[in-house]
C-alpha cells in the first residue's frame, strides 16, 4: 500500500535504502553479536576478582593445612624461617604505618580541601589543585627513595633514637602521598553541598570559618568520612614506600621510631628473595595477601556503605 510518491528524482534514496535493507542481514547479525562481546568484556572484571579470590584462597587454604589458623591470627611472633607465623606483628606494623599516614593525611587533606573549596579564589584553586594532584601521581618507588634518603635523615636530627629503617618516616611519606586523595574527595563532597546553604549561613552573619565548620562540613560529612576510609585502604595496601623505608623486622609494637614490617613489605621481601614454590613460606605470602585483601576490602566497602547510607539529600 506504499503509494509511490512524488519524488521522481534521478536518485531515489528511499528505494536504495529499502534494497540495502533486504540484503543486509549482516547488520542485524552484528547487532546481535556486539552486546554479547561487550558483556564478555564486562564480565572480565568479575573474572579478575574471581581470579584474585581463587589464587589467594586456594593457596591460603594449603597454608592453613600446615599452620594453625588460631596461631596465625593470635600470636605475635613472626618468623617464617622458624615456623612462627604470628601475623599480629605484621598487622601491627601495617597499622602503625596507616595510623601515622592518617595523622598526616587527614588534617592536611581536609585543611587543603577547605582552603581550596571555601577560601581560595578560582584562580588560586586552578593553580594549586593540579600541583597538589601531582603528589598522587608520583610513583611510590620515588617516594620510598625519598623517605629513606631525605626524610629519615631529617627526622634523625630531631629524634636521636630513631632507627634507620622506621615506621615513622615511611608513614609520613605514605601520608603525604594520600593527601591529594583525601583533599580531592573531601573537596568533591564539600562541592556537592549546595551554595544556598552557604548563603543561608553567611546571610546570618557567619564568617567563612563558621559557615564551613557548622554548615558545610556537617552536610558533607559522609563523603568526607568515606574519603578517610578509602585513604586508609590505600595506606594499608601501600607497598614500595614501606618496603624501602620501614625495614623488615616484624615487630609487635606501636612505637613508630622502630623498624617494623608490614604485610605488603613481607610479601615483597619473600617474593623478591625467593619464592620456593610449594614451601610453607611460599604459601604464607598468600595467607598474608589474603589478610591484606580482606583489610582493604573492608575499608572499601565501608567507604561505599558510608557514602550510600548517609548520603545527604539537600
Amino acid at each position: 500500500m506504499v503509494s509511490s510518491k512524488k519524488n521522481h528524482d534521478e536518485l531515489s534514496v528511499k528505494e536504495r535504502i529499502a534494497k540495502n535493507k533486504q540484503s543486509n542481514s549482516s547488520t542485524m547479525f552484528v547487532e546481535k553479536l556486539v552486546p554479547k562481546l561487550l558483556l564478555l568484556c564486562a564480565t572480565l572484571s568479575v573474572l579478575v576478582t574471581l581470579g584474585i579470590l581463587y589464587t589467594l584462597l586456594s593457596e591460603t587454604f594449603t597454608f592453613f593445612n600446615q599452620v594453625s589458623v588460631v596461631e596465625f591470627f593470635t600470636t605475635t611472633y613472626w618468623n617464617p624461617w622458624r615456623d612462627s607465623y604470628g601475623i599480629l606483628s605484621l598487622i601491627s606494623g601495617t597499622l602503625l604505618i596507616t595510623i601515622t599516614a592518617m595523622i598526616i593525611a587527614i588534617p592536611l587533606g581536609v585543611a587543603s580541601a577547605i582552603f581550596l573549596s571555601e577560601y581560595a579564589s578560582d584562580k588560586v584553586r586552578r593553580m594549586l589543585k593540579p600541583i597538589l594532584e601531582v603528589l598522587a601521581g608520583i610513583p611510590t618507588v620515588v617516594y620510598g627513595f625519598f623517605a629513606l634518603t631525605f626524610v629519615t635523615p631529617m627526622l634523625d636530627k630531631i629524634i636521636p633514637d630513631l632507627s634507620f629503617f622506621n615506621a615513622l618516616s615511611a608513614g609520613i611519606v605514605v601520608g603525604v602521598m594520600i593527601v591529594p586523595m583525601v583533599a580531592s574527595l573531601t573537596e568533591d563532597a564539600m562541592g556537592a553541598v549546595p551554595n544556598t546553604l552557604r548563603e543561608g549561613a553567611m546571610a546570618l552573619g557567619s564568617t567563612r570559618l563558621e559557615t564551613t565548620i557548622k554548615v558545610v562540613i556537617p552536610a558533607a560529612l559522609s563523603g568526607i568520612v568515606a574519603s578517610f576510609a578509602l585513604a586508609m585502604s590505600r595506606a594499608i595496601g601501600e607497598t614500595m614506600i614501606v618496603a624501602i623505608a620501614a625495614g623488615a623486622t616484624p615487630k609487635f609494637t606501636l612505637d613508630p621510631t622502630q623498624s617494623i614490617q608490614t604485610m605488603t613489605g613481607y610479601i615483597v621481601q619473600v617474593s623478591t628473595g625467593d619464592v620456593s614454590f610449594g614451601s610453607t613460606i611460599y604459601y604464607s605470602i598468600y595467607a598474608v595477601g589474603t589478610t591484606l585483601f580482606v583489610f582493604t576490602l573492608i575499608m572499601n566497602l565501608l567507604a561505599q556503605y558510608i557514602s550510600r547510607r548517609f548520603r545527604e539529600e539537600y
Binding site: 552484528v30 547487532e31 556486539v34 562481546l37 561487550l38 558483556l39 568484556c41 564486562a42 572480565l44 572484571s45 568479575v46 579478575v48 576478582t49 584474585i52 589464587t55 589467594l56 588534617p107 585543611a111 587543603s112 577547605i114 582552603f115 577560601y119 594549586l128 597538589l132 603528589l135 601521581g137 608520583i138 610513583p139 618507588v141 620515588v142 620510598g144 627513595f145 625519598f146 631525605f150 603525604v176 593527601v179 591529594p180 564568617t207 567563612r208 570559618l209 563558621e210 578509602l230 590505600r234 594499608i236 595496601g237 607497598t239 614500595m240 618496603a243 624501602i244 610479601i267 615483597v268 617474593s271 623478591t272 614454590f277 598468600y286 595477601g289 591484606l292 585483601f293 572499601n300 561505599q304
Partner: protein, 292 residues
C-alpha cells in the same frame, strides 16, 4: 524583650573575624605543606640527579659502575609493557564501559559489576602482583616476560579506564543518541558512529592517566619478575625485560653510594615521562572539552 543582646553580639564580632583570619592562614599553610613537600622532593631529586643526566645516561644500559649506568633498557622496557597494557585495557575497559552505559539494564547484575569494579580499584597493587605471579608465571608458565608484566599491569588499571570511559560516555548528550535512533540507526551504529567519537577525548584522557599509573608501578612487576639487569632490548612481547621503576629500585639497592645519584637521574627521567603523559592528557581535555 530583646533576647539577643546586641552588645554581646558586637563584642564577639571581632574575635570571630580574627578566628576566621587565623583559620584561613592555617588552611593555606596546610595546603602549602603538600606543595613544599613536593618542592623538597623535586629539589632533592634534581640536585642529586641532574649531574648524572646526560645523553649517555639516556642511551646506555645499566652497569656495574655508577658512571656508566643508563636507563635505556628501563625506558624501552616500560614502553614495551605499555604496548601490551594499553591496547588490552583500552579495548576491554571501553567495551566494559559501553556495555554498562549503553546496553546493560539497570539491574542487579549491572550493579554487581559496578560495585565489583569499585572494589577492584581499591585492591592493593601487590595483590595484583600475586595474581600475575600465580596466573601467568605459575599456571600458564609464561616465564618472566613482557606479556605477563603487561597483562598484570593491565588488570591493575582496568577499573581506572572503565570509570573514566563510563563518565565520558555518560557525558555524551542524549539528544545525539536520539537523533541517531531517529534516523533509523541501530544501537551499535549509534554507539560506534556517534557516542564513541564524542566520548573519545574523555576516554583518551582517562586512558593516559591510567597508563601513567601503570608506568610508575613497581611492586607487581617485582612479583612477576622483571629483570634487574639486562643488556638487550626486547624484540617481542615474549622477551624478558626490565622497566623504569624496577631499574630505579635496583639502583637504590646497588652497593656503591654513587648509585643514589644514578637513581635520582632515573627518577627525573621517569617523572618527565609522566609529566609529558599528563600534559598530553590535559591538552586533550582542554582541546576537546569546549566542543560539546
Amino acid at each position: 524583650m530583646a533576647l539577643v543582646n546586641k552588645e554581646t553580639v558586637s563584642n564577639k564580632m571581632n574575635s570571630r573575624i580574627l578566628k576566621n583570619k587565623i583559620a584561613k592562614v592555617i588552611f593555606f599553610i596546610a595546603t602549602i605543606i603538600g606543595l613544599l613537600f613536593l618542592g623538597a622532593l623535586a629539589y632533592r631529586i634534581l640536585t642529586q640527579g641532574l649531574g648524572s643526566l646526560d645523553m649517555d645516561f639516556l642511551t646506555g644500559f645499566t652497569s656495574q659502575s655508577p658512571d656508566r649506568a643508563g636507563i635505556k633498557a628501563g625506558v624501552i622496557g616500560s614502553l614495551w609493557l605499555m604496548s601490551v597494557t594499553a591496547p588490552v585495557t583500552l579495548v576491554i575497559g571501553v567495551a566494559t564501559a559501553i556495555y554498562l552505559e549503553e546496553y546493560a539494564k539497570r539491574g542487579k547484575f549491572t550493579r554487581f559489576i559496578q560495585i565489583n569494579l569499585q572494589n577492584l580499584a581499591g585492591v592493593p597493587s601487590i595483590v595484583f602482583g600475586l595474581l600475575g605471579l600465580t596466573i601467568f608465571v605459575y599456571i600458564f608458565k609464561t616465564g618472566e616476560i613482557i606479556l605477563a608484566g603487561g597483562l598484570t599491569l593491565g588488570l591493575l588499571v582496568l577499573p581506572v579506564i572503565v570509570v573514566a570511559a563510563q563518565e565520558s560516555i555518560r557525558s555524551v548528550p542524549n539528544e545525539l543518541r536520539e537523533a541517531s535512533y531517529g534516523m533509523g540507526a541501530t544501537k551499535w551504529q549509534t554507539v560506534r558512529r556517534i557516542v564513541l567519537p564524542a566520548a573519545i577525548p574523555g576516554i583518551l584522557t582517562g586512558g593516559i592517566l591510567a597508563l601513567s599509573r601503570a608506568i610508575g608501578e613497581t611492586a607487581p612487576l617485582l612479583l612477576v619478575g622483571a629483570a634487574t639487569a639486562i643488556f638487550t632490548l626486547p624484540s617481542s612481547i615474549f622477551d624478558p625485560y626490565t622497566a623504569m621503576p624496577i631499574q630505579i629500585y635496583s639502583w637504590t639497592k646497588a652497593p656503591q653510594p654513587e648509585f643514589e645519584y644514578v637513581a635520582s637521574a632515573g627518577i627525573i627521567v621517569l617523572l618527565v615521562i609522566l609529566l609529558l603523559l599528563n600534559s598530553i592528557a590535559v591538552f586533550i581535555r582542554n582541546k576537546f572539552s569546549k566542543r560539546l
